[in-house]
Symmetry: C5
C-alpha cells in the first residue's frame, strides 16, 4: 500500500517549498498520497503537524520553513525546532524538518537552489523513512547533505572503508 506524506509549510517562506516536495515525491514515488496544510510561520509547524495527524494520519511529515535574516528569526527557528522535537515524540512519527535560512545563500539564485535541493532530498528521505527505512542505512556515515553537495565520508589514510 502506498504511504501518505503530510506536508506542512508556511506563508512566511519566500519560496513555495511544498511544490518541490510534491513534485519530487510524484516523480520518484508515484502514487504516494499527500496531505497538506499551510500555517503562518515556522512556530506554527509543530501544532500544524499534530492537527494534520489528527485529520489525515500521514505516515511521515515534512515541516517546511524559511528562517528570516534577523537575529530574532534565529531564536524563532530554535523555538520552532524544539516544538517540532516535542511533536515528533508526541505523534510518534518522523517529522523531517526542512529549514532554509535566508542568509544561507550567496545570492538569491544560490538561495533558491538551496531551497530546492534541500526540500527535494528531504522529501525523498521522508518517504523512505516511512516506506523503506533500510535504504537510509546504506548511506550511514556518508556525509550526506541537503541544500549543498554531499560532504562525503571522511577520508583518512589507513582508515579506508
Amino acid at each position: 500500500m502506498k504511504i501518505k506524506v503530510g506536508i506542512v509549510d508556511t506563508m512566511f517562506s519566500r519560496v513555495d517549498m511544498a511544490a518541490f516536495a510534491v513534485d519530487e515525491i510524484g516523480k520518484k514515488f508515484p502514487g504516494t498520497r499527500i496531505a497538506r496544510s499551510t500555517v503562518p510561520g515556522i512556530k506554527d509547524l509543530a501544532i500544524g503537524c499534530l492537527l494534520l495527524e489528527k485529520k489525515e494520519r500521514p505516515d511521515v511529515f515534512l515541516a517546511l520553513g524559511m528562517v528570516g535574516k534577523a537575529d530574532i528569526d534565529r531564536m524563532c527557528a530554535h523555538e520552532a525546532s524544539l516544538g517540532i522535537q516535542m511533536a515528533k515524540l508526541l505523534i510518534g512519527k518522523h517529522i523531517v524538518e526542512v529549514f532554509v535560512h535566508e542568509l544561507e545563500g550567496k545570492d538569491e539564485a544560490d538561495l533558491y537552489s538551496i531551497f530546492e535541493d534541500r526540500t527535494r532530498k528531504h522529501a525523498v528521505n521522508a518517504v523512505l523513512l516511512a516506506s523503506d527505512p533500510k535504504q537510509l542505512s546504506k548511506f550511514a556515515g556518508m556525509g550526506k547533505r541537503q541544500g549543498r553537495p554531499d560532504a562525503g565520508p571522511l577520508v583518512v589514510r589507513g582508515k579506508e572503508r
Copy 2:
C-alpha cells in the same frame, strides 16, 4: 457555526493589542465569538491559554504580548515562547503568537504601527486557521509578513512561478 477565538493579552504590553484583534475580527468575520483574558506578562500566556481552554473551549487562540528592551526581556520571550509551544501541543489547537519587541520600531509611531499591523493580520490568520485553513495555502511560500509589508516571493531569473 461561528467559531470562537480565545485572546490572551498582558498588562506588561504598552499597547492594547487585544483591541486591534477584536476590532479586526469584528470587521472581517462578524459574528465570531471572542473569549478573553489578561495575564501579567508574556510568561503567563501559555498557562493563560490553557486556563481559557478549560473555561471557554475556543477554536483557536491569539497570545498577544510585548517584549521589553532589556537583554533579560529577550530571554523571557524565549521562555514564554517555549511555554506556548508546549501549550499548543497540550491543547491540540493553534495558538498564534503575536509578539512585538519594543526595540523593533524606529520610533514610537513606527512601533505602534507594527503592533497594529501584526496583531490585525495575525487575528485574521487565527480565524482562518480554525474556520477555513485552505485559505492560507493560497499564500504558501509568498513571503507574507505581519508588522511590516510582505517580503514577497523570492524572484529568481528562470524560476518564475
Copy 3:
C-alpha cells in the same frame, strides 16, 4: 470562599521575598489562606510548586527567587524558568514567577526596593488571577511593571485611546 495562595521561595535569595508577599496579601486581601514552602534555589521552584500542589492544592502560586551575579546564574534562571513553564501546564494553574536579578539594582538599597516592589505587586496579581481575573483586563496594554514604576501605555499622536 477565600482562595489559597501557594508561596515557594528559596534559601539562595538574599531577601525574604515571601515576607513581602505574605504582608501584602494580608493587607489587601485579608483572610486569604497561604501555603508555603522553601527550597534551596531557583531550580527547585518548579518541583517545589508541584509538591505544594499535591499537599495543599492552592489556587495559584508565587515562585519567588533571586538570580545571582555570575553568568552561570543567568543560565540557571533560564532553566528554572523553563521548569516553571512546564510546571504551570502540568498543574494547570498560574505560577507567577517573581525573579529578581542581583545585578538589577544600582546599589543595595535600589536592589532591595526592586525586591519589595516586584514581590508585592505580583502577590496582588497572583490573588487576582485566582479570584477575580477580570480585574487584570482593566490594565491590559497599560505597560504595568513590577520592580520599577509602570512604563505606561505608548502614547502616539493621533492614536490616543
Copy 4:
C-alpha cells in the same frame, strides 16, 4: 521511618562527589538509607534518576556532576539541567542538582573544596527536603550558598529584619 536518598553520579567527574554525600548523610542523619547508581556523564543523570526511581523508590535524589572546561560543556550542562527539570516533574520528587564547573576554582585545591562543600551542603538539603522541609524555611532569603561561604541576607539601612 528513615528516608531513602537516591544518589546518581558520573564517571566524567574528576571528584568522587557521591563519597562526600554518603559521608555527610551518614554523619548528620545516621540510619538514612542510600540507593546509588553511576552514569557516564551529566546528560545521563535525568534518566539515571528515573531508572533509580523505578527500582528503589527513594524519597529524594541527588544528581551529582562536574561540568568540563570547554564551551561545549556548558551547553551539555544546560541540556542536562533541562532534562533534570523534566525528570523532577515526571517523578514528582526533588532532585537536588549539584553541578560543579571545572572552571569555578582558582586552583585545584580551591576547586576540590567547592566540590566538597557544595556536595555536603546539598546532601543535607536533600535529606531535609524529604524528611523535614520546614527546616529550610528558617533560612528563606538568607543568601545560603553551596560551594562557597554564604552570601548572607542583603543588609540595607532602615530595612533591618
Copy 5:
C-alpha cells in the same frame, strides 16, 4: 539472557560510527543483539530511538551523530540533544548520546580517532548500563573521557583517596 542494543545513526555523519559500535560490542560482549536504524541527521535521532523502541524493544540505545562546523550546526545539536533528553524519559531507558563535533579534531586523522574512541567507549558504557550498571560505579568520579584520554581524578595534596 543477552541484552539488545538499539543503535541509531545518521547519513549526515562523515564517519560510519555504527560500525565502531557494532565491532566493539561484538568483541567485548559477544552474543549481544543489535537493532539498528539510520536517520538523515541528528535532529531525527530522538524519534528514531522511539520508533526503534516500538519495533525492537532494545534494552539500551546509542544515538550516534556528527555535529557540523557551522554556527547553525551547534544550535541543531542543542535541539537534537534536548529531543534526546525527552526521548530518554519517555522511553524510560538510557540513550547514550555520542556526538562528535567536526571542529573537535586538530586534523582529519585526529577527528577520525575521536569518532572511533568516543563511539567504542560509549558502546561499552551502553552495554554495561543495561547489563551490569554496578561496573560503572567503580569509575565514579574518575574523570573518564570518551574521544580523548581520561582526564583522571583531581589530585589535591592531602586529599588522596
